[in-house]
């Protein structure tokens, strides 16, 4: 079967490091931390009082009336999608919107809206609950608002696979273009749940760092002193396009999305498989899909969230799946963990690493675990990157591996 190539022609993001892709990437290469103390009154009672909050609040970008109808996770998706769309050059290009699809997911969805409106229900009764509540909290809301903004008519999709959501949404975009259902897919993830309830829930699982007095050093993947992930918020969106479509219009091509591999662990609802068995299968599937072997992968943007068990299970899996040669990074050391947006944001970091021939650094790795592979520590590492891997895992046993290659 003749399968079309799929390339990336637009990038967009709003993150704890910057309000767009360029500022986020500059901050990553500079090794900056986006983590800070939560100074809100509600945070005082929580065991976790740090998070990676957006550098640029959506209210600085979206007008007040539009914003009051959007959950924060919808606003971030929209901001990132608008940047990616403008970046792609497709705006005003005459693209047939019946050939444009959207695949944007969230790990948790409109939880802030749900919880805020529940406060209103309890305090003031049902009549005061906003009529915008349902479109603000529905899990397909971010995808739907992006689709509406761009007038996408080839389908609007919203996968949910916890912290693998952003990557799975991108892999769905790949499938959509390969199967001929669209020429262009706006794909990625979004998350905005810095609120006492989600934080309390994650904290009760003992999944989060409690390094409250030292926020910038709290997210420390692969460091012996790591004590959990740091919650982040934001969105990452890429524009995927059939390669011949992009070439025909003279588009700037960042990279090619060469392959994707998706598996499920069948092991535990939250614990990663100790040898990363499901993850190993995902990487092998992605390699086969891309027509590559492990030796071709010279850089890995790891999932590495800074949890005690997950980080080293991934290393064991990488060793088994592709070997010891790749240069790794854990950009969550800087951005915190954007949950459903993380796979998309880290795909963007992987794509820019290929473009700029540089691996962004892993910060806070003062005391690396024994048996760790080669990591770009503290400083960016210049590296020629013909092919790179981005891993994502999610509660529920989801594993997604994406392989990006330099477009030739």
């Amino acid at each position: 079967m003749n399968r079309p190539d799929v390339v990336v022609t637009g990038l967009g993001a709003t993150t704890p490091l910057g309000g767009d892709v360029a500022s986020t990437w500059d901050a990553m290469l500079a090794g900056k931390s986006g983590v800070s103390a939560l100074t809100q009154e509600w945070a005082a009672q929580l065991p976790v009082r740090i998070a990676a909050q957006l550098m640029v609040d959506p209210s600085e970008v979206i007008d007040r009336i539009k914003l009051r109808r959007l959950d924060r996770s919808e606003a971030t998706a929209l901001i990132a999608a608008q940047e990616a769309w403008a970046d792609s050059g497709l705006a005003g290009s005459g693209l047939d919107t019946e050939r444009l699809a959207v695949s944007v997911g969230s790990g948790i969805g409109g939880a802030q809206t749900l919880l805020f409106q529940d406060d209103i229900l309890e305090a003031s009764g049902p009549r005061r609950v906003s009529p915008h509540t349902v479109p603000m909290l529905m899990p397909n809301g971010p995808a739907a608002f992006v689709g509406l903004e761009l007038q996408a008519k080839a389908g609007v999709h919203s996968v949910a696979s916890a912290c693998a959501t952003g990557a799975e949404a991108i892999s769905l975009g790949l499938d959509i273009i390969r199967s001929g259902r669209a020429d262009v897919v706006v794909a990625g993830g979004t998350e905005a749940v810095i609120h006492p309830l989600p934080i309390a829930g994650f904290a009760s699982m003992r999944a989060m760092s409690t390094r409250n007095d030292d926020p910038e050093h709290a997210s420390r993947p692969w460091d012996k002193g790591r004590d959990g992930f740091v919650l982040g918020e934001g969105a990452g969106i890429v524009v995927l396009e059939r390669a011949d479509h992009a070439i025909a219009r003279g588009a700037r091509i960042y990279a090619r999305l060469a392959g994707a591999g998706i598996t499920s662990d069948g092991y535990d609802i939250v614990q990663p498989h100790p040898e990363g068995a499901g993850f190993v299968r995902a990487v092998r599937k992605a390699l086969a899909d891309a027509g590559l072997t492990g030796t071709d992968i010279v850089h890995v943007n790891a999932h590495a969230t800074s949890t005690p068990t997950g980080d080293m299970a991934e290393i064991a899996g990488l060793r088994a799946a592709i070997g010891e040669h790749p240069v790794l990074t854990a950009t969550k050391s800087m951005t915190g963990h954007l949950l459903g947006a993380s796979g998309a944001l880290e795909s963007i970091a992987t794509i820019l690493a290929i473009r700029d021939s540089v691996v962004p650094p892993t910060i806070n790795l003062d005391d690396p675990e024994e048996g760790l592979l080669d990591v770009a520590m503290f400083k960016p590492r210049p590296l020629d990157i013909p092919a790179a891997l981005n891993n994502s895992f999610g509660f529920g046993g989801h594993n997604v591996a994406l392989i990006f290659v330099r477009n030739s």
């Binding site: 007008d63 007040r64 009336i65 109808r69 009549r127 005061r128 906003s130 009529p131 915008h132």
Partner: protein, 80 residues
């Protein structure tokens, strides 16, 4: 009991807050949907805010009769 002008001004405040309508555009002759671009969900918000502001109950079946700002002013003047 407020005057019609006071009620119109109060509605203009609500319309600005809820739907971003400029107070200068609000007049009794204006239609909520046609002239002021207030969609159905925002109209629900306007009604709830008006109930609170003017101490009046506006039943759902009455809302469809409130086509213009003047219709709303009349209803509020009569029922508050």
């Amino acid at each position: 009991m407020s005057s019609r002008e006071e009620i119109t001004a109060g509605l203009a405040e609500i319309l600005e807050e809820v739907a971003g309508v400029s107070p200068a555009d609000v007049a009794e002759s204006k239609s909520f949907t046609e002239d002021l671009d207030v969609d159905s969900l925002s109209m629900v918000e306007v009604v709830v805010a008006a109930e609170e502001k003017f101490g009046v109950k506006i039943p759902d079946e009455e809302v469809q009769n409130l086509k213009t700002v003047g219709d709303a002013v009349s209803f509020i003047a009569k029922n508050s």
